[in-house]
Amino acid sequence: MPSTVIRDRRAWLVAPALALLLAAFVYPVFWLLLRSASDPVWGFHNYATALSEAIYLKVLWNTVAISGATTIFCLLFGYPMAYTMVHAGPAARRILIYIVLIPFWTSILVRTFAWLVLLQPKGLINDILLGIGLIARPLELIYNRTGVLIGMVQILLPFMVFPLFSVLSRIDGSYMKAAANLGAPPLPAFFRVYLPLSLPGVFTGCMLVFIISLGYFITPALLGGRRDIMVAQLIQEQIDQFGDWGLSAALAMILLAGTALIFTLAHKVFGVKPAIRA
């Protein structure tokens, strides 16, 4: 097998990407792995600390819970959005694509600060709701989990919409027509025909959103409350304030291993192949 790969001259086209991957991913990960087991002394004490002390376990759980909730909300909003984009006319589709793209091109920091202005007790959203008499007291939309999720879902929505859009637009419309011809009402037809065909997009979108969420830092820090601490914040604090590379590296490795595990499990359980695959 390897010889056929090497004999194929086109294989060399992957060389730059491979070099980049080695330099920018494999090497740093290897270095982190080394640090996690050697700083300040050799052993697994950093892992023992990270996986036994309540504070690290709580933060790891927070990270998974926030990422999971973000993924679910992105799917709930992203699926209808992608579906509408696929079935809209060309002009409407272009507008919808730009509606997703333009925020995507804006810096995360800018968008997070914008939410800060919109969501606060005397912010635009509360002002409008109070003004039209829908609420009597300002809603607590920020400095809590709600704020974190609003910010993260809005920022990560494109990562759900685009993979879904790409998969949904390849689903042959005649399947749904066939289902209707055979007497299936629209909803059962959707759940038994359309949805299963779209699962590769759902899988890819969910994985992208979930994995990117795991490393989130600035949005939970600015929009969250006292308890909304994610692993990235803890890593930053450990390195910035105490130069504790060992524990930080261990936390990063646990995050990486956890991600790989979740990815593999999802793959096995749902038996779906991602839209993008090797």
């Binding site: 504070i55 927070n62 006292r226 308890r227 604090e237 390195i239 910035d240 304030q241 105490f242 130069g243």
Partner: protein, 370 residues
Amino acid sequence: MTHATSNQAARDAAHPQPSAGRRRFLKAAAAAGASAALPLLSGRALAASHLSGRHMVHTTWGGVYRDAQVAAYCDPFSAATGAEVIQGGPMNAAKLSAMLKSGKPIWDVVDVVDVSLAVDSRKGYFEKIDTAVVNMSEIEAEYVHDYGVANIVWSYNIGYNTDAFPTGRHPRSWADVFDVAKFPGKRTLRDRVFPSLEHALLADGVKMQDLYPLDVDRAFAKLDTIKDDLILWKSNSESQQLFGDGVVGCGLILNGRAFDSHKKGAPVAIEWNQNIRSVDYYVIPKGAPNADVAMQFMTHVTRAENQARMANRLAYAPTNLDAFAMIDEEVKPWLSTHPDNAARGILISIDYWRDNLEALTKRWTEWKLS
């Protein structure tokens, strides 16, 4: 305030044979120390650009703070000595710590906060300040450190939004800030363990002079009482936004940030009662390539006229109190080392935090998660 004579003797004893150049420089420094009003001109004439062709890398926190330091310290230093000051950075604690660990720093002068100075100087990361070169007697005694030159003093103050609590009916003590019934609404503290524990203990009735060593359990128990009404800020600009937009009615703000909000017309005011002073130090990382130039730079940091420039630009208080003679009247009430304000507060104990920061930071995170 200046102890020029005794200090001169100590310097001569420590360094019996200064070089001709150094002796000449000492004279200039002593002259400048004797009269704060003495213009830069004499320093320039005497020092006679003896550092021309030399340079040093100055690294500090970003933004307006750096601009002010460049105008207050770097430019006068270059003008007097001919040395070129290159701006490095911006200062980043993780970067500095990596540099210090490697033992090959590329920064010659770095601005660090007092607690970092206490932690890192014990590890032997900084050059000792050469008192034969730097006239430390100009600096107020409580800010003098063997391994750093105190550049500015700022303070943690009780802040309040004047729309929520007009001055006169505002929270006057940390006990008031922690009194949710008397002062309803959200309040804010910094998302760091120091000096949140100090604030909690002051609120619980501990006297300022009895704070250290901190009664940690008592502090966390007091913090529990405002848990549901508390927003924690992570950056100073966030604190300004929280107070300015009225998200919080009262809590913690740094005096300089309150001054900035006030200047911009935001309804933010501060109370000086129970303020906690903190200091930024200039340090020279051990093994800095231009440590000798950096040491001479330090003499310019101690000078009253340079510190007055800093205060007039950013309302950061001088450590050389002679500077007050050259500080604008409207800025003076905002300064932490102004005698009226200093008398109503205390200096944070950097020795306490040096020994307890890591363990208590972990406890702080635990408390936040609970």
